[in-house]
Symmetry: C2
Subunit: 209 residues, 2 copies
């Protein structure tokens, strides 16, 4: 699918914005759009847009622009959004609950299939139609269910232990919400960090300038 396998993470991280923007354009029944018009909507330059999209294929036509629906479908495909992905959440605190709600309402192909906690007061409670399970039952759950992505929303103290457990049970894809930079030897493991306080520090830097 991809023309160039050495695509920078900076370009990749812009793709969801293209997805969201094109989704909005599609909803307003626009059939085709020039990179200049897309530029006005998305806030990247037309040249940047052409460069970005060119990493993945030849989508536009000189003098015609992009077919909105085709481009939306292509980006959806590139992002893997046409494949159903099963997700579990470990840690059913406020953040875990917030993410559960987000996934439930996102209308995307991500299906939350399990939520785990070690707190006896939480285990058994229902969250968005799913019962919170004991973290000790995670290995059995993972054997019986296909799990693509594990989300870590525990305290930082428990993060590495949970990470080890996830990987030893064969899950290769981690969405990490703790402040910890997780360590693992397996080169096949993919980890996407959402370090919330790092983001606040970045904002603090910009405010300090």
């Amino acid at each position: 699918m991809n023309k160039n396998k050495n695509i920078s993470m900076t370009v990749i991280r812009r793709l969801p914005k293209y997805y969201r923007c094109l989704e909005g354009i599609l909803r307003s029944n626009v059939l085709r759009i020039s990179s200049k018009e897309l530029s006005e909507k998305i806030g990247f330059t037309a040249s940047q847009i052409r460069q970005d999209l060119n990493c993945f294929g030849d989508f536009g036509q000189q003098g015609y622009g992009y077919k909105v629906k085709d481009l939306f479908n292509e980006i959806s495909n590139i992002l893997g959004l046409n494949t159903k992905r099963n997700i579990i959440i470990i840690g059913a605190g406020n953040l875990g609950q917030a993410l559960s709600n987000y996934l439930y309402n996102a209308g995307l192909n991500f299906e939350l299939c399990g939520i785990f906690d070690n707190n006896k007061d939480k285990i058994g409670h229902i969250l968005d139609d799913i019962a919170i399970l004991n973290i000790d039952d995670m290995p059995i759950f993972v054997k019986e269910n296909k799990v693509d992505i594990a989300t870590i929303c525990t305290t930082s103290d428990n993060a590495q232990e949970v990470c080890d457990k996830i990987i030893s049970n064969g899950i290769k894809c981690i969405w990490n919400y703790t402040q910890v930079d997780l360590k693992y030897d397996d080169n096949d493991v993919i980890c996407e960090n959402v370090h919330l306080i790092d983001s606040l520090m970045t904002l603090s830097y910009l405010l300090n300038e």
Copy 2:
């Protein structure tokens, strides 16, 4: 403080990781560290570390390395973490509550001073020692209290309206947790987006590769 004002956001976004890593090294009572040793701990190359830090000043000494405490203090300063910043949160749902807890426990110079919601069932409840206030009272609150950063944790539908309200009340710094790319004319406004679903889409892309 900064040698070079044209520092890329990629470098800036690495600074919190330096901060966290140096904090850990300080805690283990290490007094000085070479860029090679720091490299092993933080996972950037020694050359990358020297380049990154060189954007902000001359911190290391050839053959000696970095004084850990001095470097930690410098980075803390560069990130503006030695200045107290007052934060408000708009939207007291699960995510707003999670962020309130994070700020309460982070032990940093960010002080949560107000939480707002439009839901009558939530208004008046206490969250981490702070009463949830009516969003309609935000303008008066901002007049009476110095507010540096406003965090938007509302639904996407309300995000732009809340953003307009924040800016019209003189707050220039926004920490945006909604999926919306906020629009504003004021060039002085700083906005840091934490688009959670964008991050999940990035993970989905990497999983799809």
